[in-house]
Symmetry: C2
Subunit: 265 residues, 2 copies
């Protein structure tokens, strides 16, 4: 009896739908962990060629050709494309297969019209195909419409990461908003730094060590306690001088003023 239970939670064969940044990294990680991928779909031949060359995996460029012999289908396509892809996929493989998407903001129920068993397999990270990342510590947020399939997906996630969490739709949406602030908006702060320096022919290299250390500083601590700079010091002279300098960049000046006031609240 116990043996049977464990067996039930084993995913033996995966199809990855989509070979963009997230799809590519999942393929790479499953492949290196020896987790069998039986097929990869991407409508882009460039991408499937790359996958074939690198991992010697079977690939297809049409959803109608996706095999129905897998235990799990991971849909790693753009948010808007998920319902369209799900519909086509259910025609190819039937309604009884377990399907999961990798999105931060799409509810798990997106699959309800097309499948009986579905879930989410969302790696909370900024992934670029060109950049290797150590998956072991990436939080993988898992959800499903059934306890049994949740367990299956958790088990799979734990094979590629030590940081696996059951996160429901609402929590995942909140995480995604927070991720936009700490990653997308932070990267935009870097872009402002770069643009200010380049206007004065100063190299962005000068800021790289600072950027890295700012992130490393909160590896353990709370960012609130790590806040430094003129705003938190209440250094009005410096703030006024910097606002004056930013006159030539009205947008940056407005942002500077707003964030400074926020920090001081």
């Amino acid at each position: 009896m116990k043996k049977k239970q464990i067996k039930e939670h084993l995913i033996k064969n995966i199809v990855i739908i989509g070979a963009g940044n997230v799809g590519y990294h999942l393929i790479d990680k499953f492949f290196r962990k020896g987790i069998p991928i039986c097929q990869v779909y991407s409508r882009s031949k460039t991408k499937t060629n790359r996958i074939e060359k690198k991992f010697s995996l079977d690939t297809v460029n049409r959803l109608g050709e996706v095999t129905s012999s897998a235990d799990l289908y991971i849909v790693a396509v753009k948010d808007d494309a998920i319902p369209v892809v799900a519909k086509k996929l259910s025609k190819a493989i039937g309604k009884n297969k377990l399907v999961a998407h990798t999105s931060g903001s799409v509810p798990v129920t997106v699959f309800k019209p097309f499948f009986k068993k579905y879930g989410v397999f969302y790696p909370l990270q900024t992934l670029s195909t060109e950049r290797k990342v150590s998956f072991d510590r990436i939080p993988v947020c898992v959800d499903s419409n059934s306890e049994k399939n949740l367990k299956k997906l958790m088990r799979l996630a734990k094979k590629i990461s030590k940081n696996v969490h059951h996160i429901n739709d609402e929590q995942r949406a909140v995480l995604h908003v927070a991720a936009v602030f700490v990653s997308n908006f932070t990267n935009y702060m870097y872009t402002i730094g770069e643009s200010i320096l380049s206007a004065e022919n100063l190299s962005f290299e000068l800021l790289r060590p600072l950027i890295l250390e700012t992130a490393k500083k909160i590896k353990t601590g709370s960012p609130k306690q790590m806040q430094t700079g003129p705003a938190i010091r209440g250094d009005r002279k410096t703030i006024e001088k910097q606002l004056l300098y930013l006159e030539k960049y009205p947008d940056y000046q407005m942002l500077y003023d707003m964030i400074t006031k926020e920090i001081q609240k």
Copy 2:
């Protein structure tokens, strides 16, 4: 002749004025590199006790007691305190000593009323006494009112960092503005992420890997090219959903809206 020139550029004995975050790290780095520090001043006895214990250095708590036997006095105090400290210091050691401050936004000429030889020794980094940093790659921005003393300071800086630059007042002010964006404001983005998650009882741990990877991603590339997220994708659905969620945080909502629009420009 050549030998004499080299000798002239050697700083043999340093006094550090101030044992806050910057002062402490300079002491630590000079000490470990075997660069002689003859005295440390801090008005705080807690701080001088700590320095005495850790580095067995001579310390004083009054500026009037600072020795006049050093070649260089590094003033690592708060921006506003620099002129006050400089005035008292000149009374103790005379006008003929080389003095440098460590500030990003104070002009080198702050010393002009009190000293004949002066400069800047500005490590562009976010330093906390509690956190060890590898100084080797920290940009040290050096300036002086004379070519000879500029060389002296550059030579000293090169002993503790591989990343030494001659940066004038205007450039340093620009660097400091850029540093506020990429470090202080970035840290504030982390704080927003933390505050949003904690309101929903989600652990900030979930964001740490993302934060670190976002910084690491631009170790080589340009942040402009690394921009990801709903704003740059033009993913209106997600943006609207997230703005709606942020209704309960009007300040964050305003910032979200503003930065999103900036990214899309």
